[in-house]
């Protein structure tokens, strides 16, 4: 433990700025993945263990499109929509066959899909890790705020992810679609009885969740190496977020993702060797004391 250093950091503006900016960016990228996971669980009652692979697909699609067009904007759009489309097929052709079956079946189908996708990615893009690099237009000197460093590209990432989060909140809270989705999460039978096609709702929600994961993958492709099997570590962190935030709660996922981001950034100063352990310990603690998580419904 280096708690003295943590105290020193917390009393210096530059350190707080640098670590907070890092924590926010890590947390928001994590939120994009975890919000999709929690949305799918909330509405479909399905634990999508293959969610990390969707992140990976988003990253690879963005890499390819960026290579062809040199446009980061197009790359992100392609990564998001392409992954959403893939999610649609995944839901329609595989997952829809196991609705209502126990969690074991969900696990096995997703496990199979993870295995297949990791190999397919290797066949299509090769086994070498790849890197997109920070696009030309974002290679600018970092902002210096109160002596702390905020990289230009991180500021861009934060702006984009925050915009997506706001859009998601507005979509879920203010639109007719959002109200139907929330109703479907509480009582799918009732929504069906009102003449709304739950099949369409399920497919749309899964596609949105997949698109969010794809967006996170595409947005982080410039700064993280893109490689088959990259989904696993993302998956585990998003699970921790989902559990801490409460399964099905988007607000809870946002809070938990930011908590994790800050644990990472400040933890690397205060308790560098226990950052991972702290995350699992937090998850265990939440499960023991409040299984429904920070913002969740009581489990039935």
């Amino acid at each position: 433990m280096e708690l003295a250093e943590l105290g020193e950091c917390l009393s210096s503006v530059s350190c707080i700025v640098t670590q907070s900016a890092a924590g926010l960016t890590i947390g928001m990228l994590l939120f994009l993945v975890a919000s999709g996971l929690t949305l799918i669980f909330g509405v479909l009652g399905l634990v999508n263990f293959a969610h990390g692979s969707l992140y990976m697909i988003g990253a690879y699609l963005a890499l390819t499109v960026h290579g062809a067009t040199q446009s980061f904007a197009l790359a992100v759009v392609a990564g998001t929509l392409g992954t959403a489309l893939f999610g649609l097929f995944f839901e329609r052709f595989l997952l829809s066959r196991i609705y209502g079956r126990d969690v074991l079946m969900q696990l096995l189908v997703c496990y199979a899909v993870i295995l297949i996708l990791d190999d397919l990615v290797k066949i299509i893009w090769g086994a070498d890790f790849r890197s997109m690099g920070v696009p030309e237009e974002f290679r600018r000197p970092p902002f210096i705020i109160g002596g702390g460093i905020v990289p230009y590209f991180y500021a861009i990432l934060f702006a984009i992810t925050a915009a997506i989060a706001v859009l998601l909140a507005w979509g879920m809270g203010r639109t007719r679609f959002g109200r139907i989705v929330r109703a479907a999460a509480i009582n799918p039978g009732m929504v069906g009885a009102l003449g709304i096609n739950t099949t369409v709702i399920y497919a749309a929600v899964f596609a949105i969740g997949a698109g969010l994961a794809g967006a996170a993958g595409a947005l982080s492709a410039p700064i993280r190496s893109v490689v088959a099997g990259a989904g696993v570590s993302i998956l585990i962190e998003s699970f921790i977020v989902t559990v801490i935030g409460g399964m099905g709660s988007i607000g809870g996922a946002l809070a938990a993702a930011l908590i994790l981001g800050f644990t990472r950034s400040f933890g690397s100063i205060g308790f560098p060797l226990f950052v991972e352990g702290a995350m699992f310990a937090m998850m265990a603690l939440v499960l023991l004391l409040r299984p429904s998580g920070l913002g969740g419904k009581r489990p039935s």
Binding site: I98, L104, L107, D119, I236, F239, M283, A284, P299
Partner: protein, 320 residues
């Protein structure tokens, strides 16, 4: 009840005798011995996990924790304390049971998906501890330097033939024991908890205690699997406690079937053969395994033995 034990024990003895006759009779290639050891190892892991999944209805994603605990405890006892193998095995199983008791006491209260996550979290916690406690466990390099295997009762486990025989004996004894557990009133209570926990509570069963007992029993037998694994590879590695090991165990059970008692063993055999054949012909191992898994889960919708038994029952039901 007694007849059941005698019959099972008799069958088990016959199987073991048959196995020994084949191997001692000179038909036992090195490949067959290797297969037998691995079959025994994963057989224990899968069979014990099915006590939770199939009989009790608790889907544990963290079963490999006890497998790893058995392997590390046994390896460390042999390396550091220089005990005899039977004593070290007993102590290692004791450690595993204790771990299962502590984790189980915290986990079994939770319902389905939360139970799965919490068991997974504890397994990953154990994995982190193994990785970071380098002075004891060797960290990511695992327990190195080999595990001493002093002969006992004329059994020399450093010889593959003896190890295979010993492994099969462990598996068969455990199979008979677990079958007794499943068929006992205790097992009937577990099934009732699975199918109708409210009614079970109404009858006056303590859901908590029964589930905890099942959890500890399952963990202990998984630990024995871990002991065999550490004997086989002469070491112990952090991957034993990684979630992929739990995932493979669930995969094996699913291949064979959860409703038939011996289903998991069939699954283990299929899994091992698939694994060995596929790695031998392609480097796209995951692609093939994944497709086979999808076909079984979405096509058959149950394990192979489940499918066969249901089919057979349906036909028998139709014929008279």
């Amino acid at each position: 009840m007694r007849d059941g034990v005698l019959r099972d024990a008799g069958i088990a003895t016959l199987v073991l005798a048959g196995f020994l006759a084949v191997t001692l009779g000179g038909f036992g290639s090195a490949g067959l011995l290797d297969f037998a050891i691995r079959f025994a190892t994963f057989g224990l892991l899968a069979l014990s996990l099915n006590l939770l999944i199939g009989t009790t209805g608790l889907v544990s994603f963290g079963h490999a924790a006890y497998f790893a605990m058995g392997a590390y405890a046994f390896g460390l006892l042999m390396q550091r304390a220089g005990l005899s193998i039977p004593l070290a095995i007993l102590l290692a199983l004791g450690c595993t049971a204790l771990l299962a008791l502590v984790v189980g006491a915290l986990c079994v209260r939770l319902s389905e998906i939360y139970f799965a996550f919490l068991t997974l979290a504890f397994q990953m916690l154990l994995h982190s501890v193994i990785l970071s406690w380098i002075s004891l466990t060797g960290g990511d390099q695992g327990l190195m330097g080999g595990i001493p295997k002093p002969p006992f009762l004329g059994i020399d486990l450093s010889r593959p033939l003896h190890l295979a025989g010993f492994g099969m004996a462990c598996l068969l004894v455990s199979t008979v024991a677990l079958r007794q557990v499943v068929r006992s009133p205790f097992g009937a209570a577990l099934r009732m908890l699975r199918d109708n926990p409210d009614r079970a509570a109404f009858v006056g069963l303590s859901v908590y205690r029964y589930r905890l007992a099942a959890f500890v029993i399952a963990g202990t037998f998984a630990g024995l699997g871990g002991v065999l694994m550490s004997l086989y590879v002469s070491g112990a590695f952090p991957t034993f406690a990684f979630w992929t090991t739990s995932g493979e165990a669930i995969f094996m059970i699913m291949l064979g079937g959860v409703t038939v008692f011996l289903g998991p063993l069939v699954g283990v055999a299929i899994f091992l053969i698939l694994n060995d054949r596929i790695t031998a012909v392609t480097e796209h191992h995951g692609l093939f395994l994944g497709i086979i898994l999808l076909v079984i889960v979405l096509g058959l919708r149950k394990g192979l033995l489940d499918f066969v038994v249901d089919h057979w029952r349906a036909r028998r039901g139709a014929s008279p």
